[in-house]
C-alpha cells in the first residue's frame, strides 16, 4: 500500500465513520458536528485528487456556511438542543433492509462500470478553464445564470418572510 492509498483509506474511514455517527448520534447537536467531520473527510479526498479548488469550496460553503446555519437552527430551536431522543425508531429495521437491498442492487453496477482513467494530472489552468466555462454561452452560462436567479429569488423570499410585520 502506498502512502497515497493509506491517506485515502484514512479519509474514507473518517468520511464514512462520521457519517454513521451522524445518523446514530443521540444528540442532535452532536449529529451536526459529526456531519461536519464527514464533510471535512470529503474535502480531504478532494485534496488527494489534486482538486484543491473543489476542496476549498467544499470547506467554504459546506463547512463554513451551510453547517453553521444548521448549528444555529439547532441552538436557537427551543428544547431541540437539550432533548436527546432515541436515535432509532421502529422503522429502523425496515430502513436497514431497504438500504442493504439498494446496495446489493448498486454494487455490481458500480463495479462493472467502465470508469474513465485519468491519463494526465490536473492541468495548471484548471481554475481559469472552470471560470471561463461558467460564462461561455456554449457551455454553462445558462445553467449558471438560472442558478443565480434562483438564489436571488430565495434571498428575496427569505427577507420577505423574516421582515418585521408592520
Amino acid at each position: 500500500m502506498t502512502l497515497i492509498q493509506a491517506v485515502f483509506v484514512l479519509f474514507a474511514i473518517l468520511t464514512l465513520g462520521a457519517g454513521l455517527f451522524t445518523v446514530l448520534s443521540r444528540h442532535l447537536f452532536h449529529a451536526v458536528l459529526y456531519l461536519i467531520l464527514s464533510l471535512v473527510g470529503v474535502a480531504g479526498l478532494f485534496v488527494l485528487l489534486e482538486a484543491e479548488f473543489l476542496a476549498g469550496v467544499q470547506v467554504l460553503i459546506y463547512i463554513g456556511a451551510i453547517s453553521i446555519l444548521i448549528i444555529f437552527a439547532v441552538m436557537l430551536t427551543r428544547g431541540m438542543a437539550r432533548n436527546p431522543g432515541p436515535p432509532l425508531n421502529n422503522q429502523s429495521l425496515a430502513a436497514a433492509v431497504i438500504a442493504g437491498l439498494f446496495f446489493v442492487l448498486l454494487a455490481p453496477v458500480i463495479a462493472g462500470f467502465p470508469w474513465p482513467q485519468a491519463t494526465q494530472g490536473v492541468p495548471a489552468d484548471a481554475i481559469e478553464a472552470l471560470g471561463r466555462s461558467l460564462v461561455d454561452p456554449n457551455q454553462f452560462a445558462l445553467p449558471f445564470e438560472l442558478a443565480s436567479v434562483m438564489i436571488l429569488a430565495a434571498l428575496i423570499g427569505a427577507i420577505f418572510i423574516a421582515r418585521e410585520k408592520r
Partner: protein, 332 residues
C-alpha cells in the same frame, strides 16, 4: 518527498515559535501602549521595563485551577479552544514572509507552501474559525456563554461576506489566486492605491472578524460578563487568549499581503533578507493601529454593528466588485 517534508517541518517549527513569541510580547506591547495612551506607566515590575511580564502571566495561568463545569459537554468544552486556535495558525501556512532566497546553499521561499488557490484557502480557513467560539458558548452550558457565543458567531458570519468580496476585488485586480502572485503583482504600486475601497472594507471587516475594538461586543462585560469565555480558566483560557492575539498578527499579515505590497520595498531584489524586515515593519504598524483604535474608539451597539455590516459594507463591497470587474474587462 522526504526533503520536502523536512523543509516543511523546519519552516512550520520556526513559524510556530515566532508566533508564540509574537503572541507573548504582543500582550505586553498592548498593555504598555494602552498605558501610554492613558498617561499611565503600565507593567514595569517583572524584569527591566516589564519585559518578563509575559512569562509571569504564563506561570500564573499554569497554576490556576483548570475547572470544567459539572453540566458542561466535557469533550466539546476541551476541544473548543483548540478548534479556535488551529485555523488561526493555519492561515500563516500560505503567507509569504519574504521573496525567494538562498540559505546555506539551499534555494527556498519564505513561505510554508504556495498553493494555487491560496486566497480560497485563506477564506475557507477563516470561515472555520467561527466554530470554536460557537462550540465554546454551547459546551459551557451557561446562559452568558451561550449568548456570547451566538453573538460572536453572528458577528463573524455577517462580516465574512463583505470581507470575502473585498478579497474578490483583489483577486480580480491581480488576476491570480496565488498569494505570492498577489504580492508580485504589487511591484508597480500597492493595491491600497488601486483598490482603496476594498482596503477600507477589508480593514473594517477584519476588525470585526478578530473582534477588536470597536467591534469587541462579544466581551461586553456589562451585558454578558465575559461572553463565551465565562466558564474558561487556566490554560484553556490561555489558548483562547493566544488565538485572539495570533489573529491580530494574522490580520496584519493578510492586510500587508493583500494591500501593502507584502514583503516588497526598496532594494528587496538586491538583498532578499530585507523582505522580512519590510514585512515585519508593515505588520507591526498595523498592529499598532489596532491598539491605537482600541484606546480611542468606544464600543458600538449591536444594532449598529449589524446595520453597518449588512446595509453599508456589503452593498459597498458588491458595488466595488462590479466596478472592478467592468474596469478589468475593459482594459483586458
Amino acid at each position: 518527498m522526504a526533503p520536502f517534508l523536512v523543509e516543511a517541518a523546519i519552516k512550520s517549527l520556526i513559524l510556530v515559535l515566532l508566533l508564540l513569541t509574537g503572541f507573548a510580547y504582543l500582550t505586553l506591547a498592548e498593555r504598555k501602549l494602552i498605558a501610554d495612551f492613558q498617561a499611565r506607566i503600565g507593567p514595569n515590575r517583572a524584569g527591566p521595563y516589564g519585559l518578563l511580564q509575559p512569562l509571569a502571566d504564563a506561570v500564573k495561568l499554569f497554576f490556576k485551577e483548570d475547572f470544567i463545569p459539572e453540566y458542561a459537554d466535557r469533550v466539546l468544552f476541551v476541544l473548543a479552544p483548540l478548534i479556535t486556535l488551529i485555523p488561526t495558525l493555519l492561515i500563516f501556512a500560505v503567507i509569504p514572509f519574504g521573496p525567494e532566497l538562498t540559505l546555506f546553499g539551499y534555494r527556498t521561499r519564505l513561505q510554508l507552501t504556495d498553493v494555487h488557490v491560496g486566497v480560497l484557502y485563506i477564506v475557507a480557513v477563516t470561515s472555520i474559525s467561527v466554530y470554536g467560539i460557537t462550540l465554546a458558548g454551547w459546551a459551557s452550558n451557561n446562559k452568558y456563554a451561550l449568548l456570547g457565543g451566538i453573538r460572536a458567531s453572528a458577528q463573524m458570519i455577517s462580516y465574512e461576506l463583505a470581507m470575502g468580496l473585498a478579497i474578490v476585488s483583489v483577486v480580480l485586480t491581480t488576476g491570480t489566486l496565488q498569494v505570492s502572485g498577489i504580492v508580485e503583482a504589487q511591484r508597480n504600486g500597492w493595491l491600497i492605491f488601486l483598490q482603496p475601497v476594498a482596503a477600507v472594507i477589508f480593514f473594517i471587516t477584519g476588525l470585526a472578524e478578530i473582534k477588536r475594538a470597536p467591534f469587541d461586543l462579544v466581551e461586553a462585560e456589562q451585558e454578558l460578563t465575559a461572553g463565551y469565555l465565562t466558564e474558561y480558566s487556566s490554560m484553556k483560557f490561555a489558548l483562547f487568549f493566544m488565538s485572539e492575539y495570533v489573529k491580530m498578527i494574522g490580520f496584519g499579515a493578510l492586510m500587508t499581503t493583500f494591500f501593502l505590497g507584502g514583503y516588497l520595498g526598496p532594494f528587496v531584489d538586491l538583498y532578499p533578507g530585507l523582505g522580512v524586515v519590510y514585512f515585519t515593519l508593515k505588520v507591526g504598524f498595523l498592529i499598532f493601529v489596532l491598539i491605537w483604535l482600541r484606546a480611542t474608539l468606544p464600543r458600538i451597539r449591536y444594532d449598529q454593528l449589524m446595520s453597518l455590516g449588512w446595509k453599508v459594507l456589503l452593498p459597498l463591497s458588491l458595488a466595488n466588485v462590479m466596478g472592478t470587474a467592468v474596469v478589468v474587462a475593459l482594459t483586458a
